[in-house]
Amino acid sequence: MRLGRFSAIWVATAILLGVSPFIASGSLSQAAIFSMLPFAAILALVAVGQTLVVQQRGLDLSIPGAISLCALLVTKFPNQSDALVPVAIALTLFGGAVVGLVNGLTVALFGVAPFVATLGVNALLLGFVQWYSGGSPTGAAGALNQWALATTAGLPNTVVLTVVLIAIAQAMLLLTVSGRRFEAVGDNPDAALAAGIRVLRYQVGSYVLAGVCYAIAAILLAAFLKTPGVFIGDTYLLPSVAAVVLGGTALTGGVGNVGASAIAALFLTQLGQLVLSIGAPTAVQLLIQSGAIAVGMGLREMNQSFLLRWLRPG
C-alpha cells in the first residue's frame, strides 16, 4: 500500500512515539510528553505560517526577526503588568500582521524574490528587537505565564489553543471559497488570474496570515518560557522549513496541508527531545533538522520519479 502525500508524516510520528520508550526509557512518560508538547505546539504554529507562504510559492526567512520581535512586544510592552496583557496581545497580533504585509507587498507587488525580501525584512526586525530591548530580555506578565502553565481538560492550555487554531485553519482551507482559491493561486497564479481570481490578495494574504501565526507562536513562547531570550526566534527558521518539507507541502506551491506540517512539528520536537535525552549535545539538533530536510526532499524527489515511471509505462 502506498501512503498518501500528507499521511506519511502521521505514520512516521506514530512510529517515532512508539519506539521512543525503547531508546530512552521514560521519554513517553506524562512528564516528558507534557514538557515536549508546548514546544511542539509553538513550532506547529510557526510551521503553519511557513506552510501558507510556501503554498503561495514563497519562503519566509523573516521568522527569526518576527518571532523575536513579537515575543519582545508581548513581554516588554506590559512590563509585568497583568492589566496590560490584553492590549499587548492585540498589539503583538497586529505587529505580526504588519510584518506579513510588508513581506507580502515587497514580494507580490514589487516582484522581489521571496527569500531576499524576507531576509531584508528580517534584518529590519532584528534592528527593532535590538532597539526596543536594549539587548536584554523582559519577563512576561504573571497572568500570561500562569495561563500557559495551566491545563484545560488535562491538556496544557498552549496545546489546546494550538490544536483549535490549526483545526480552524485546516477547515478554512478545505471548506471555504477563499481556501480553495488560495490553493489554486498557489498552484498556478497565471491560471488563477485568467480564471478571474484576485491573485495579489491571496499572495499578500498568505504572508499576513503567516505573520499572525508567528505572533501567536511568540505569545505562547513568551508565556511559557516566562523570560524569552532576545533573539529567541533564531532557532525557529530551519525547523519550520523542515516541518513543511516533512509534512508533504510542495515547495513549488499549491497543494499543502497545515495539519501535516503541524504533525511534522511534533515529530521534529519529539525527535529532538529524544536525542537530547540520550545525552547528545544541542548542536546535534541542527544536524537532525538539516538531515530531515535533505532526506525528506530526497524521498519526495525519488517518489516523483517513481510516480512518473509508474504513470507512463514504456
Partner: protein, 848 residues
C-alpha cells in the same frame, strides 16, 4: 534515448532530377509522436545543394517538428537523419551544428542579459571561434552584412522582437552552414528587411548551400523558393518545382481535400435584430486597434488571421488580461473589463490557449479544477456547500462526457482532450453570458475535437455568445457562423453565412499583404535609462554613497580620517569582500548560496585545531589544507543538493547552512583554540596603512571582473544564469558551469574564512553567520540580478565597502547598534526593489 531506427534504406522513390547537386539534408521515414498525438508520420524529405527549398503547411502540420528533428532539438521515435552525407547518431543541437546545419528558430535562442556580440561569439562552434581574430571587428562585419542598425554592445533584451530575429539570423549564418533552416523568418520583418533577407538567401545558395524556408506566406515562397514541399497532418503531400504551380494551387495543396471531420450543424437562424449579448465598440489595446464586434445569442464568431495580427490580444482584452480602451456592453449594459475578475463579473469567461500555463492547476484534482470559477455560486457565507457543488460538477462531467476515473484524480493524469473539456466545463459552470475561447481544440485528438465543437455549439444554442480565436481555417469553417479576419490589429474582412469556407479564410489570411511598419522599432531607451540599466551604474552610485558617508563621518569625528581607522576598516572589509565575490559567482548562474556565512565560520573552527601557537609548520599547512578541503566538500555538497537531488538552491543551501552550523558547534561548543600569532601577522601585514590582503582582494575582484567580461568562462557563467535552456541550445555545458560556480564560491568563501581567522584569533563557532546576509546585500547593491545573468565583481567589492563604511560610520556617530541592522535591511530591500523595477523590461520582452 530512442534510436534513430532502422531507416537505412534510403531514397524511397523520389530520385533527384540530376545527379550533379549533392543531397545536403536527408530525412528518411521519420515518425514522431507527442504524448500519443502523431506529429510526423513516416516523413521522408531531402534538399539539394544550392536550392531554396520551401516547406509549407498549415499550423500544426509538422513543419517545425520536422526541422526540429533535423536540427537535433527533437528526437524522433523512428527514422534516420543524414546531414552532408553523414548519418546523425546522437540527436543534439551541438552535433547538428557541427555537421553544418543551422536552424533559425521562430523563438530566438538568445540570452537576454548578454549583448549582441556576446550572443554571437557564444554560439560559435570552437572551430569557427578559433579563427576569429579581433572579436569586435568580426562582429561589426557580420552586423554590417545585414544592415543591422543596433550596436554590437546592445543587450538583447533592449532590442525589439524583429531585431532579435535578425540577431538569430546573423548568428546562424555566421558559422557558414551548408544547410540553413529558416522558420518563419519574415514574421517580424518589414519590406526592406524581407528584401535584404532574400538578397542574402540568394548569396548563400549561390555559394552552394541549401536554404530550407518554412513559411505561411505563399507569396514569399513563390518569390524565393526553387522547390516546395507540402506537409499536411504530419505527412508529406508532395514536392514540386515552384515554377510549376501558382499561388492558388499551393493554397489548395496546403488546405488539402481531406474528408472533413464532422461538425455539429450551425445555428439555423440568428435574429439580427435582437440585442447582442456582447457588443464591443472600437476597442483598442496593444496589438489591436478600434475593433468592433457584435455577438448575438446562439452565434459562434471566429477570429482569424496570421499569427500575431491582434486577434488573440483582442480576445485577451475582453477577458481582462490585456489593458484596453473602448466600450464593452454585455446584454446591453456597459461593463468594465479592466481585470480578469471584472470580466468574470461581467459574465465573460475565458478559455486560455496554453492549457498548462494558463488554465490548469496541474497538481489539483479534476473536481477542484472544474469547480474553480463558480466556487462562490455554491457557497453560503463563504463556506462551500459540498453536496450542491458536487452535484453541479457531476452534471458538467456528464454533460461534457469528461472521462476521468474519479473526481479526485489529478488533472495531469487526464488526456489532453479531457483536460480541455475540464477547462470548458469550469467556464460553463459559471453560467457565462459569453464564452471566449482561444484555440479551444489545440493539442486535442480528433475524437475529442468533435466533442468540443459539439459542446461549444450547445453552449451557443443554449443562449450564450461564443467567440473563438483559431489558426485552423477548416475548424473556423465548420464551427463558426461568422468569421472576422484580423490584419495588423484591425478587422480587414468579415465572412458570414455561405462565405465562411476554409478557402476564403485561408486566402484572406495568406494573401493579405499586410506589412509591419518600422515605426515601433525606432523606440530606444534614453541615454540615462540605458546607463541606469548598465552594469556599472550601481557601482557609481555606491562609490558616491561611500564617499559621501566618509565626508560626513570625517566632519563629525576627527578620528575617522586616520590611517588607523582605515587600516582597521580595510582589514574587516577584506573578509566580507571575499565572501561576496563567491556569492556573486553563484548568483550569476541564477542560484543562491545561503551557506557561505556558516562556511566561513567552519573554516575558522577547523583551522583552530591545527593552526595554533607553538605547533610545527606541517601542522599549520595541514590546518589550511584541511579547511580548504572542507570548503571544497561543502561546495560539492551544495552542487549535489541543487543539481543532482534537484532541491531549490534556497532550501538546499539553507540545509547546509544549518548543518554547517551544527558541525561548528559540535567541534567547538565554545570559542577556543588560539591562532598562531605569527601566521595572523603575515595574513594581516600592511604596506603603509593598507593591508596586503586587501590589495590581493581588489586584484582578485579586478581579475574576476575581467574574466567575466572577456573570457569564455565569464560568458558561459552569464549565459547559464540568463537562460539555462537557451544556453544549452547554443552548446554551453550547463552542468559543468554550475559545478565550477559552486566550487569557486566555496573557495572564495574559504579566503574570507582565512581573513576572519586572523581577525578574531580564536575558533568561534558562530563568528561567520552574519556573512550570509552581508554577502547577499553586497552583491545586490552591486547590481547583480537575483534571477542570474547579470552582476559585477567590482560592484560586489563596492557593495561590501559600503556595508563596512556604514558599520564604521554608525560607530563614529554613536548610533544605536540597531542602526546596523536597519541600514543593512533597508539597503537590501531598496536595492532589490529598484532592480526589480528596472528589470521589468526583461520579463516583458522575453516572456513568450
Amino acid at each position: 534515448m530512442s534510436q534513430p531506427g532502422a531507416g537505412q534504406d534510403q531514397d524511397d522513390g523520389v530520385a533527384p532530377e540530376r545527379a550533379a547537386p549533392s543531397v545536403t539534408l536527408r530525412l528518411s521515414k521519420v515518425t514522431k509522436r507527442f504524448s500519443g498525438v502523431v506529429a510526423l508520420k513516416n516523413v521522408s524529405f531531402e534538399s539539394l545543394a544550392g536550392e531554396v527549398h520551401a516547406l509549407v503547411g498549415e499550423n500544426g502540420a509538422g513543419k517545425s517538428t520536422l526541422m526540429g528533428v533535423a536540427a537535433g532539438d527533437v528526437v524522433p521515435d523512428a527514422g534516420a537523419v543524414e546531414i552532408n552525407g553523414a548519418m546523425v547518431e546522437v540527436f543534439s543541437s551541438a552535433n547538428s551544428t557541427q555537421r553544418g546545419l543551422a536552424l533559425v528558430h521562430q523563438h530566438p535562442a538568445l540570452l537576454p542579459d548578454l549583448t549582441v556580440a556576446e550572443n554571437l561569439i557564444l554560439a560559435m562552434p570552437s572551430a569557427v571561434r578559433s579563427q576569429i581574430r579581433g572579436r569586435a571587428a568580426w562582429v561589426r562585419e557580420r552586423l554590417s552584412q545585414w544592415d543591422a542598425e543596433f550596436s554590437p554592445n546592445a543587450r538583447i533584451k533592449s532590442l525589439s522582437m524583429s531585431e532579435q530575429h535578425l540577431v538569430e539570423l546573423i548568428k546562424a549564418t555566421s558559422f557558414n552552414p551548408r544547410v540553413l533552416v529558416l522558420d518563419e523568418p519574415t514574421e517580424h520583418m518589414d519590406r526592406d528587411g524581407i528584401e535584404l533577407l532574400f538578397r542574402r538567401i540568394r548569396a548563400t545558395t549561390a555559394a552552394g548551400c541549401t536554404v530550407i524556408y518554412i513559411s505561411h506566406r505563399i507569396h514569399e515562397v513563390k518569390a524565393i523558393a526553387d522547390r516546395v514541399t507540402v506537409l499536411r497532418d504530419g505527412e508529406i503531400r508532395g514536392t514540386f518545382n515552384v515554377t510549376d504551380l501558382d499561388v492558388q494551387q499551393i493554397v489548395n495543396l496546403v488546405v488539402g481535400r481531406t474528408l472533413q471531420s464532422a461538425f455539429p450543424p450551425k445555428a439555423a437562424m440568428i435574429d439580427a435584430e435582437a440585442e447582442p449579448v456582447l457588443a464591443v465598440d472600437r476597442l483598442s489595446g496593444a496589438g489591436f486597434n478600434a475593433v468592433t464586434l457584435h455577438a448575438r445569442r446562439g452565434e459562434i464568431i471566429g477570429l482569424a488571421g496570421i499569427e500575431g495580427n491582434g486577434q488573440r490580444e483582442f480576445l485577451r482584452a475582453l477577458a481582462g488580461l490585456v489593458p484596453s480602451s473602448g466600450q464593452v456592453r454585455v446584454n446591453g449594459e456597459t461593463r468594465n473589463v479592466s481585470s480578469p475578475a471584472e470580466s468574470r463579473r461581467a459574465a465573460l469567461v475565458y478559455v486560455p490557449r496554453e492549457r498548462h500555463r494558463e488554465a490548469l492547476m496541474l497538481s489539483l484534482s479534476v473536481g477542484k479544477n472544474i469547480g474553480l470559477i463558480a466556487l462562490a455560486r455554491n457557497a453560503i457565507f463563504g463556506v462551500i456547500d459540498r453536496r450542491r457543488e458536487l452535484a453541479e460538477i457531476n452534471n458538467q462531467v456528464a454533460a461534457l462526457s469528461i472521462k476521468t476515473p474519479r473526481l479526485e484524480t489529478q488533472i495531469q493524469n487526464l488526456s489532453g482532450g479531457n483536460q480541455q473539456k475540464v477547462v470548458i466545463a469550469r467556464c460553463l459552470m459559471d453560467q457565462p453570458a459569453v464564452l471566449l475561447a482561444d484555440e479551444p481544440s489545440q493539442g486535442v485528438d480528433a475524437g475529442a475535437r468533435f466533442e468540443i465543437y459539439t459542446i461549444l455549439r450547445a453552449a451557443a444554442s443554449g443562449g450564450r455568445g461564443v467567440v473563438i480565436a483559431s489558426a485552423d481555417a477548416m475548424e473556423l469553417e465548420g464551427l463558426c457562423d461568422r468569421v472576422l479576419i484580423f490584419s495588423r490589429g484591425s478587422v480587414i474582412a468579415e465572412l458570414s453565412g455561405a462565405e465562411v469556407v476554409e478557402r476564403n479564410i485561408t486566402e484572406a489570411a495568406l494573401t493579405a499583404t499586410a506589412l509591419r511598419t518600422r515605426g515601433a522599432a525606432a523606440r530606444r531607451a534614453s541615454p540615462l535609462m540605458s546607463f541606469l540599466q548598465g552594469d556599472y551604474a550601481p557601482s557609481l552610485v555606491l562609490l558616491v554613497a561611500i564617499l559621501a558617508l566618509g565626508a560626513f563621518a570625517s566632519f563629525i569625528s576627527p578620528y575617522y580620517l586616520t590611517s588607523r581607522n582605515f587600516s582597521n576598516m580595510l582589514t574587516l572589509l577584506t573578509a566580507t569582500t571575499f565572501v561576496s565575490l563567491g556569492q556573486l559567482v553563484i548568483l550569476l548562474v541564477g542560484a543562491i548560496d545561503l551557506s557561505v556565512g556558516p562556511l566561513t565560520g567552519l573554516v575558522v573552527v577547523v583551522a583552530s585545531f591545527l593552526v595554533n601557537d607553538g605547533v610545527s609548520v606541517p601542522s599549520i599547512v595541514g590546518g589550511f589544507l584541511l579547511s580548504l578541503l572542507v570548503a571544497a566538500a561543502v561546495g560539492c555538497t551544495n552542487w549535489f543538493l541543487t543539481r543532482r537531488a534537484r532541491i531549490t538552491p534556497v532550501i538546499a543551501t539553507l540545509t547546509t547552512y544549518m548543518g554547517l552550523q551544527g558541525v561548528s558547534l559540535l567541534l567547538r561548543p565554545v570559542p577556543d583554540g588560539l591562532f598562531n600569532s605569527d601566521v595572523a601577522a603575515v595574513i594581516e601585514s600592511h604596506i603603509g596603512f593598507v593591508p596586503v590582503a586587501f590589495l590581493a582582494c581588489v586584484a582578485l575582484a579586478a581579475l574576476l571582473e575581467y574574466g567575466l567580461r572577456r573570457s569564455r568562462w565569464g560568458l558561459t557563467l552569464r549565459a547559464v544564469g540568463s537562460g539555462e535552456a537557451n544556453a544549452r541550445r547554443v552548446g554551453v555545458n550547463v552542468g559543468l558551469t554550475y559545478f565550477g560556480a559552486f566550487l569557486l564560491c566555496s573557495l572564495l568563501t574559504y579566503l574570507g574564512g582565512v581573513m576572519l581567522m586572523a581577525q578574531i584569533g580564536v575558533g568561534d563557532p558562530t563568528a561567520g553567520v552574519n556573512y550570509t546576509l552581508a554577502s547577499i546585500t553586497a552583491v545586490v547593491l552591486g547590481g547583480a540580478s537575483l534571477f542570474g545573468g547579470r552582476g559585477s565583481f567590482v560592484g560586489a567589492l563596492l557593495g561590501a565597502t559600503l556595508i563596512q563604511q556604514i558599520i564604521n560610520v554608525t560607530t563614529f556617530v554613536r548610533l544605536s547598534p540597531a542602526w546596523q541592522y536597519w541600514l543593512l535591511g533597508i539597503l537590501t530591500l531598496v536595492a532589490a526593489i529598484l532592480y526589480s523595477r528596472l528589470g521589468v523590461q526583461r520579463r516583458t520582452t522575453s516572456g513568450s
